[in-house]
């Protein structure tokens, strides 16, 4: 028992050792006296915004997505929502749709969402059928018509039952930039004509 207790203690000591070393006294440095943090005054810093009309940042639609590890090199077109409220998708599984109401890969924040059918009647199986086999850290690149590119590394590949797709998190407008690729997977329900699951790839920007 005694021995086991030693390790955490050592850790604590090691952590304390990381604290800034007090400057030697009389070194002429302004005394970093341990005065308590000043109590916040009642004055609130209210954000002030100029009312002049600001030109909005025009979004930069991705036009191509490429994943060598999955043999994907696809055209991407902007899409919105269907009248049913579902995300609109190009009918051809060989073409992916970028959710144009959300961020693009060059937006300062939020997730770029690109989705494609895994398959559709009268078309060959789509390239996104290979998403489920993507290894962690596989490279995904997205390009815009003006030559801009953005590179990502695969962080996760997840199956979600369709009703439980966390749209709020996946379609986030705020927070760290990420690329979200969505297609279908799991079992195909012949009665509904749809797959049970969504296959979701989340990729984070390469440094």
């Amino acid at each position: 028992m005694t021995r086991r207790l030693i390790a955490p203690l050592v850790l604590v000591l090691a952590l304390s050792a990381c604290a800034p070393v007090p400057a030697p006294s009389g070194a002429g440095a302004p005394s970093a006296s341990p005065t308590p943090t000043p109590v916040p005054t009642s004055t609130v810093d209210v954000p002030i915004v100029d009312g002049a009309l600001q030109p909005a940042r025009a979004s930069l639609p991705p036009v191509r997505v490429r994943i060598d590890a999955a043999g994907v090199d696809m055209e991407v077109v902007p899409v919105g929502v269907e009248s049913s409220g579902f995300m609109e998708l190009p009918p051809d599984p060989a073409i992916a749709g970028w959710y144009r109401f959300g961020p693009d890969p060059w937006s300062p924040d939020g997730n770029t969402v690109i989705a494609a059918h895994i398959d559709a009647p009268d078309y060959p199986i789509g390239p996104f059928a290979n998403l489920r086999d993507l290894p962690a850290d596989a490279e995904i690149t997205v390009a815009a018509a003006d030559g801009s590119t953005a590179a990502y590394g695969v962080a996760t590949v997840t199956y979600y039952p369709k009703q439980e797709l966390p749209t709020e998190a996946l379609f986030a407008r705020e927070g760290t930039r990420a690329l979200v690729l969505i297609t279908c997977g799991g079992d195909f329900d012949e009665t509904t004509g749809h797959y049970d699951d969504n296959v979701v790839v989340v990729a984070t920007p390469r440094a």
Partner: protein, 306 residues
């Protein structure tokens, strides 16, 4: 606006699409997945909400629409916005529901020497307001508490509110050349939902289309309330009519889902692949057992021969 990702949403399958036991690789992926979902939550938590409305508080913005007169804004006897410049917005102030006394003074003047006010603002919990100080139709300073429509917008839409806060007669407000709001008088407002994009907005005297203000490009953003104020004066001598815009993130609507497969070909292929392997392995096993029998027979035959 808050994200509550649930890592337990994730249901893991084996790579062949069957519901067999999770492999080691699956477990690794699951772990990474949980990490990233947590990452999402963390990122969402770090973002300062555009509105801090709660069940007990209101958001208050202040718009200064009186030309050429910087002011101090006093709320309940305290300067909240010092040296507040015309044409700017302050806020949001996250205030508990209740009554607030607001006074505008010249900068550094005592609260007992008001330039405008005191006015009492009654704020209800869960609402967003913009208190505007502006010129009335006759060019006199006035104040009004506007309520902002901060309901979530439909996917692909933004919301536009226009407010007439200028010393000017009734106007029509034009969007892309067509009348969007007609006969808007001083102190009045109008609100509409619009598809995302940029509209060319202009203000004209009611019944005319010749702009007295604009046209100017106004961005309509998904999940954003844009409030445009016509402010200043159309008075002949001091014509300083201007447009000011305030943006409030109100929240967007996400797609209801992503139905991204309608044929079942990939599932069929998976089933075929699986069947192929099952048949193939069975065939191999069968071949092996047949071979084994033959071998032993041959061996027996050899023995007999010898």
């Amino acid at each position: 606006m808050h994200v509550h990702p649930n890592p337990h949403f994730a249901r893991k399958y084996s790579q062949q699409g069957g519901k067999s036991r999770p492999t080691k690789e699956d477990n690794v992926r699951k772990t990474i997945a949980a990490g990233v979902v947590a990452g999402f939550a963390l990122a969402a938590g770090l973002v300062m909400p555009a509105q801090a409305i709660s069940a007990t508080t209101a958001d208050l913005y202040v718009f200064h629409g009186i030309p050429d007169t910087p002011v101090d804004v006093w709320v309940n006897g305290e300067v909240k916005v010092p040296d507040f410049q015309p044409g700017t917005f302050a806020g949001p102030l996250d205030l508990p529901a209740g009554d607030y006394e607001v006074v505008l003074t010249a900068p550094d003047a005592p609260v007992t020497d008001p330039a405008l006010g005191p006015v009492t603002l009654t704020l209800e919990a869960g609402k967003s307001y913009t208190a505007a100080a502006f010129l009335d139709a006759d060019g006199m300073g006035t104040a009004k508490l506007f309520t902002n429509d901060v309901a979530t917008t439909n996917a692909g839409e933004g919301r536009l509110t226009v407010r007439h806060t200028a010393a000017a007669p009734a106007v029509d407000i034009l969007a892309n050349g067509a009348v969007a709001f007609s006969n808007v008088v001083n102190g009045a407002e109008g609100t509409t939902a619009l598809p995302v994009g940029t509209i060319s907005a202009a203000v004209a005297a009611t019944g005319t289309t010749e702009p007295v203000l604009g046209p100017a490009d106004v961005a309509i953003k998904d999940g954003v309330l844009t409030i445009a104020y016509a402010w200043g004066s159309l008075d002949g001598e001091t014509n300083n009519l201007k447009l000011a815009a305030q943006e409030i993130t109100v929240g967007h609507t996400n797609p209801g889902g992503v139905p991204s497969g309608t044929a079942g070909y990939a599932a069929e292929r998976d089933a075929m692949t699986q069947a192929f392997w099952i048949v193939g392995i069975a065939a191999l096993l069968a071949a092996a057992s047949v071979g084994g029998v033959l071998t032993s027979r041959r061996m027996r035959a050899t023995k007999l021969d010898s």
